[in-house]
C-alpha cells in the first residue's frame, strides 16, 4: 500500500487514501489518467487487470469505482473518481490502458450519462439509442410516459460519437463504424450460434470477416437497478438469472459478500455443500459448453452425448434444490435446505460414470481431424490481450493466464481439496476447448474428495429477519463457470443496497470477439463464439 501511496502522491498530491482495507484511493479527475497509467506500468505495482468498473451516483456527485488487480502479485486497489457536474458529467477514459474499459465505460455512460473523454465509441451499450434519461442515477424518472414501450425498430447507426479534449475544450467527433461500401451482415439477435439474443454486426468480404461490432442489451433486465429497490434476501433471487449456467456460483458470491459485511461465520457443513454444488454447476455448464461447441461446429451427435450426461447432473441438483436451471439454493448464512439423502450416493455413481463418457467424447470429437482443423490456430488470444480485456475463467487460462479465483483467493473449502488449475499456452479455440474438458475432470476430482467428508452440523445459521449491512463497500468474487464473477455492494446502512454491481465474466468475453474474429472466416466466428462460451443474460444483466 505504501508503494501505491508513493506512486499516486507523486502525480496527484491531493489524492485521498483510505485508512483500512479495502485500499481505496480517491483520485482527482485531472490526474486520474496519469495515475492509472503509472499504477499499470510501474514495475512495483503492475495493476494490469481492471477487474471491475462500477458507475456510481453518490447523490451530490457522479463517479466511477475501479477495482484493479495485479496479475503478478495479486494485490488489489480501488480507485475512485467523481465529478460534481451532474448536467454534463465528463471523466477521463482509461480505455487506452485497459481494453476491458471500452465496453464498461459505454455501460457507465448508458446508466449514468458520464461521457468519457478519449473513448473511441461513446454509444449506449444496453439501452436503445432513443432512451430518455440515465436509469441508474438516483434522480431518474422511471415513469412510463418518459420511456414508453416503443413500437418502432431502433435505428441502426453506422457512426458513433467520441469526445476528445483539445486545449481544455472537449469536442465531439464522429467516427465511422461501417462505411457505405461495406457488406454488413447481422449475425443475431436471433441466430442459432449466438447462444441467446446477442447481435454481431459483421462486416465481411467474401467469407472473410473484417470487423465485428457487438450489440448487447436485448435481454437487459436492469438487475442492478432492481437490486437497489429490494432487500438483501430478495436480491438473491436475481443472481441465478444472470449466468443461469453458474446459478450456484453467482449466488455464492453474493451470499459471501453479504456474510462478509455482516461478519457471519458460515458453518463447515455449509461450506462443503456450497463447494459441492458449485462444482456440480461447473460440470453442468462445461458439459453444456462441450455440447454446444460441437453443435456450432456441425457435430450434432456429439451435442446429444453431452446433453445425455448433463441430464444426470441436473437430476442430482434437482433432487436437492428443486430446480434444474434456477436453483435458489444459497441463502444468507447457509443454504435453503439440507442435501437430499441420495445426493452423496448419486455423486459417487456419477464420478464413476463420467470418465468413460469423457473418453467417448475424445473419440467422437476431440480426436476428429475435421474438429481439430476447425479449432487449432483459430482465434488466438495472447496472454497480454486476455489480461487487458479481462478475459478470465477457462478462456483466460487457455491463454496461460493463471486467473482461477479458487486458487488465488480460496473460498468455500477449495483450500482443503487438491486440484490442478488447468493452464494451456496456445490461446486458440482448441486450447479453450481442452481447458474446459480437463476442468470437467478436475471438478470430478474435487467432488471425489469432498463427497465423503461432509461434516455434520447446521445447514444454515440464524440471521436477523431484517438484514442491514453496515455502511461501507464490499467486494467478493468467486470462480464461476466462465470466469471471475464479482459482487460489489455499496451500503449506507439501509436494508437495501445503495448500489449493487455484478462483475460479469461474460462482458469481457464478448468484447474480445472483434479482436479474435477479424481476419478469419464466418465459420471461425462461430467457433470462436462457441469456445468463449458467453451466456447472454450474464452480459446484459
Amino acid at each position: 500500500m505504501n508503494k501505491i501511496k508513493d506512486i499516486v502522491s507523486r502525480i496527484a498530491p491531493e489524492a485521498v487514501f483510505s485508512e483500512s482495507a479495502p485500499w481505496t484511493v480517491t483520485v482527482p479527475t485531472a490526474q486520474f489518467h496519469a495515475v492509472a497509467q503509472a499504477l499499470r506500468d510501474d514495475p512495483q505495482t503492475q495493476f494490469d487487470f481492471l477487474l471491475c468498473m462500477t458507475g456510481m451516483d453518490w447523490g451530490e456527485t457522479l463517479g466511477v469505482v475501479y477495482h484493479l488487480r495485479s496479475t503478478a502479485s495479486g494485490c488489489e486497489v480501488v480507485l475512485r473518481i467523481e465529478t460534481a457536474d451532474r448536467e454534463n458529467p465528463q471523466l477521463p477514459s482509461v480505455s487506452d490502458l485497459w481494453e476491458t474499459a471500452n465496453l464498461n465505460e459505454r455501460e457507465v455512460f448508458d446508466f449514468f450519462g458520464i461521457r468519457f473523454i478519449g473513448h473511441p465509441d461513446m454509444r449506449r451499450l444496453f439501452l436503445r439509442n432513443d432512451w430518455v434519461g440515465y436509469p441508474l442515477r438516483k434522480d431518474y424518472d422511471a415513469s412510463a410516459e418518459v420511456n414508453p414501450v416503443r413500437m418502432e425498430n431502433e435505428e441502426t447507426v453506422d457512426v458513433t460519437p467520441s469526445y476528445e479534449e483539445h486545449d481544455g475544450k472537449v469536442e465531439q467527433e464522429e467516427r465511422v463504424l461501417f462505411d457505405d461500401q461495406e457488406y454488413v451482415v447481422n449475425i443475431g439477435p436471433q441466430h442459432p450460434a449466438t447462444h441467446g439474443v446477442l447481435r454481431f454486426r459483421t462486416s465481411i468480404e467474401g467469407e472473410t470477416i473484417k470487423k465485428v461490432d457487438v450489440h448487447c442489451g436485448y435481454i437487459h433486465r436492469g438487475i442492478e437497478k432492481m437490486c437497489e429497490g429490494l432487500s438483501y434476501p430478495q436480491t438473491l433471487a436475481l443472481t441465478d438469472r444472470l449466468d443461469y449456467l453458474s446459478a450456484h456460483q453467482n449466488r455464492h458470491a453474493l451470499c459471501m459478500c453479504i456474510e462478509k459485511a455482516l461478519g457471519i461465520e458460515v458453518p463447515e457443513r455449509v461450506q462443503y455443500i456450497r463447494t459441492i454444488m458449485d462444482e456440480l454447476n461447473r460440470l453442468s455448464s462445461h458439459l453444456l459448453f462441450w455440447s454446444t461447441l460441437c453443435m456450432d461446429l456441425g457435430a450434432l451427435t456429439a451435442f446429444f452425448y453431452g446433453f445425455r450426461d448433463r441430464e444426470k447432473v441436473l437430476d442430482m441438483m434437482e433432487e436437492t434444490t428443486g430446480g434444474r436451471l434456477i436453483q435458489n439454493y444459497n441463502v444468507i448464512g447457509g443454504v435453503m435446505a439440507d442435501i437430499h439423502p441420495n445426493l452423496v450416493q448419486r455423486i459417487k455413481e456419477f464420478i464413476h460414470y463420467l470418465p468413460p463418457m469423457l473418453r467417448e467424447y475424445d473419440e467422437v470429437f476431440t480426436g476428429n481431424v475435421i474438429a481439430r482443423q476447425r479449432m487449432q490456430g483459430i482465434g488466438v488470444l495472447s496472454k497480454e490481450t486476455a489480461i487487458s480485456y479481462g478475459v478470465t475463467g477457462p478462456s483466460g487460462r487457455a491463454s496461460g493466464w493463471s486467473c482461477d479465483v479458487r486458487k488465488l483467493k480460496p473460498y468455500g473449502v477449495y483450500d482443503k481439496v487438491e486440484f490442478d488449475e488447468v493452464l494451456r499456452t496456445g490461446g486458440d479455440t482448441y486450447d479453450r476447448y481442452l481447458v474446459r474438458v480437463e476442468e470437467i475432470r478436475q471438478s470430478l476430482r474435487i467432488l471425489e474428495q469432498l463427497v465423503d467428508n461432509i461434516p455434520a452440523g447446521d445447514y444454515c445459521v440464524k440471521t436477523k429477519p431484517i438484514i442491514r449491512l453496515p455502511e461501507g463497500n464490499y467486494f467478493s468474487s468467486v470462480e464461476a463457470s466462465r470466469g471471475e464473477f464479482g459482487v460489489y455492494i455499496e451500503s449506507r446502512g439501509d436494508k437495501m443496497p445503495y448500489r449493487m454491481k455484478f462483475r460479469s465474466p461474460g462482458l469481457p468475453l464478448v468484447s474480445v470477439v472483434d479482436t479474435l474474429a477479424s481476419g478469419s472466416k464466418i465459420a471461425d466466428l462461430i467457433a470462436i463464439g462457441g469456445s468463449l462460451d458467453y451466456v447472454v443474460p450474464d452480459i446484459d444483466r
Binding site: Y183, V185, N186, H191, P192, A193, E207, C294, M295, D296, L297, G298, A299, L300, T301, A302, F303, F304, Y305, R308, V364, F365, N368, I370, A371, Q373, R374, K521, I522, A523, D524, I526
Partner: protein, 366 residues
C-alpha cells in the same frame, strides 16, 4: 455366362411388354406412346415421392439411434407414417409472400432444383428391365441433368434478397462446381473400365464380378473419391456448408416456406438416393446379384432374390454410409473444403484415371 442364366423372379420386361401389347390392342400407335409416357411419368413421380418420404423417415430414425434417441415413434407403428403426416402439413402450409424479392426467379428456383433431380432419377436402372431412359451416353446425360440443380440453388440464394441466402448460395456454387470435377473423373475412371456409357451395358458387364472388385485398386480409389465427392455434391454433412444451420440459419432456402421449401427438401433427399444409385450402378453391380464364380449353389440362392431388391439394398447400404458421415463428423470450413477438392481429390482422381487406363490397357483387371 450368368447373364443368360439369371432370370429375375420379378421380370419387369414381361410386365412392360404386356402393357405394350394390351394398349396396342385398343388404341393407335401414337396413343400407345402417349399413354405409356404418362404412365411412366406417374410411376416416376410416385416413386420419387415415396422414396423421398421413406428416406426422410430413415434419416430421422438413423440419426436418432446415433444420438441415443428414439426418433419418430408416435404416428403409425414405429412412427412410419410420420413423414407422410409431415408431407401433408407441408402441402397445406402457406407460401409466404416476401417483399423485395425477385418474384419470378424466387418461384422458379425450387422447380429447377426438383426438375433436375427428377431427370436424374429417371435415368437410374432400378431393376432388370426397369429403366426409363437408356441410351448410349446415359451416364453422361445423368451427370448433366443432375448438374442443373446448382442453377436453382444459386437462383434461390440470389433472388431471396437475404444475405445469409446469398452466402449460402455462393458457398453452394463453389462447392458443387468443384466437386463435380471429382465426380466426373471418378465416373470417367469407371467408364474406362466398362468401355461404355450406357447404363444398362454397365450393369450387364458386372454380371460376373462387380466393378469394385474387378477394377481392384483404381476402382476402390475411385469409389472412395466418389463417396466423398458425392456427399459434397448433395450438400450433406460434413459438407453441409450451404445450409450450415449454426452459421447461416438455413442457407439458400432460408426464405422459402411451404411446398417451395418442401421441393428443396425432397430434392435433397432424392439427390442422396441418386448419388447412392450411381455408386451402386458403377461400382456395386447395379441390380446384379452377388456372384462368386465357382460357387454354383450360392449363386443360385443369390439369383432367387429379385433384382429390384438387390438394387435398393445396395443403395440402402451406400445411403447408410453417407448418413453415418453426416451424424459423426463436424462441418468443414469453406477454405478447407476447397483445399480438399483442388489440392487432394482432383490430382488424386487424375492419377487414378491414368492408373485405370494402364490397368485396362494392360489387361490387369479381372
Amino acid at each position: 455366362m450368368f447373364l443368360n442364366t439369371y432370370t429375375d423372379s420379378i421380370d419387369f420386361n414381361a410386365a412392360r411388354e404386356w402393357i405394350h401389347t394390351t394398349l396396342s390392342g385398343v388404341m393407335p400407335a401414337w396413343g400407345v406412346t402417349l399413354t405409356e409416357c404418362v404412365l411412366v411419368g406417374l410411376c416416376l413421380l410416385l416413386g420419387y415421392a415415396l422414396i423421398a418420404l421413406a428416406l426422410i423417415y430413415i434419416e430421422r430414425k438413423v440419426c436418432a439411434f446415433f444420438q441415443c434417441r428414439l426418433g419418430p415413434n408416435r404416428v403409425g407403428p414405429y412412427g412410419t407414417v410420420q413423414s407422410v403426416a409431415d408431407m401433408v402439413k407441408m402441402l397445406i402450409k402457406e407460401l409466404i409472400h416476401i417483399n423485395h424479392v425477385d418474384q419470378f426467379l424466387f418461384n422458379l428456383a425450387p422447380f429447377i432444383v426438383i426438375i433436375s433431380s427428377v431427370l436424374a432419377f429417371g435415368c437410374l436402372p432400378f431393376a432388370k428391365g426397369l429403366a426409363v431412359l437408356d441410351f448410349n451416353v446415359g451416364i453422361f446425360f445423368l451427370m448433366a441433368a443432375s448438374s442443373i440443380g446448382i442453377v436453382g440453388i444459386l437462383l434461390a440464394g440470389w433472388s431471396s434478397n437475404n444475405k445469409y441466402s446469398m452466402i449460402g448460395a455462393m458457398r453452394s456454387g463453389a462447392q458443387m462446381i468443384s466437386y463435380e470435377l471429382s465426380i466426373g473423373l471418378s465416373i470417367l475412371t469407371m467408364v474406362v473400365l466398362s468401355g461404355t456409357m450406357q447404363l444398362s451395358e454397365i450393369v450387364e458387364r458386372q454380371s460376373e464380378v462387380w466393378f469394385l472388385f474387378s477394377g481392384h485398386i483404381p476402382a476402390l480409389i475411385a469409389f472412395l473419391i466418389y463417396l466423398v465427392a458425392g456427399t459434397a455434391e448433395t450438400n450433406r454433412g460434413p459438407f453441409d456448408l450451404p445450409e450450415a444451420d449454426s452459421e447461416l440459419t438455413a442457407g439458400y432456402h432460408t426464405e422459402y416456406s411451404g411446398m417451395h421449401f418442401g421441393f428443396f427438401y425432397l430434392a435433397e433427399y432424392l439427390n442422396l438416393f441418386i448419388v447412392a444409385g450411381i455408386a451402386t450402378t458403377l461400382f456395386l453391380g447395379g441390380w446384379m446379384p452377388l456372384h462368386i464364380s465357382g460357387w454354383e449353389g450360392f449363386n443360385a440362392v443369390m439369383d432367387f432374390i429379385p433384382s429390384i431388391v438387390w438394387f435398393l439394398a445396395k443403395v440402402g447400404v451406400v445411403i447408410f454410409v453417407i448418413m453415418w458421415f453426416k451424424w459423426t463428423f463436424p462441418r468443414l470450413r469453406i477454405d478447407q473444403l476447397l483445399t480438399l477438392e483442388w489440392k487432394y481429390l482432383l490430382p488424386l482422381s487424375l492419377l487414378n484415371l491414368l492408373l485405370m487406363t494402364l490397368v485396362v490397357a494392360l489387361g490387369l483387371y479381372f
